[in-house]
Symmetry: C2
Subunit: 107 residues, 2 copies
């Protein structure tokens, strides 16, 4: 994985997932890795950036369009992971869907 993620020129979409972990680890790391792999294989996926420090985490995924995001959100295995996330792994989270309008890089 390159860091920062290499993405095409805008416009494209970002899913901003900001989370507070519950402290329960049961199956978390395995599922998180599986979801990254599944997302990366989907049509419209452009890249992912994820950082965690203790209980606070941010995951950014980039997509060509809203339809790709909708389809990924509705994926059955992903939907089950979202359900487990609420039941076990996350105390709080927010999801923001945003249209990237400008981007530049340094270095």
């Amino acid at each position: 994985m390159t860091w920062p993620a290499s993405t095409p020129p805008p416009p494209y979409y970002a899913v901003i997932f900001t989370s507070l972990r519950s402290g329960i680890d049961d199956g978390y790391a395995q599922t998180a890795q599986r979801m990254e792999e599944l997302a990366a294989g989907r049509q419209g996926f452009l890249g992912i950036e994820s950082v965690r420090d203790g209980t606070q985490g941010i995951t950014l995924s980039y997509w060509t369009d809203l339809e790709a995001i909708r389809a990924w959100r509705a994926d059955l295995e992903h939907a089950e992971a979202q359900r487990l996330g609420r039941a076990r792994w996350y105390a709080r989270y927010s999801v923001r869907i945003a249209r990237v309008e400008r981007a530049y890089t340094y270095g």
Copy 2:
């Protein structure tokens, strides 16, 4: 600081700053804290979320509109911090300006 940041209903804007640190710390923590304080005091600022794990970091700041982002980017003390960032603290970074169109929270 609440986590995730509490933000009003969309639309609003996000600045997505994904960075790779250089390994040089000279003045970094002090300047990063000062920039968060300065940003939080500006008109149009809505919230901030920042996570770092080793050299990889993501900082999200939220703003009412593009004009607030432009004004913050041009702030003289911020411009000097950006210059030092390129000279000292960051090996690479990307900045993405995005319009948040939908948002929801859990917990």
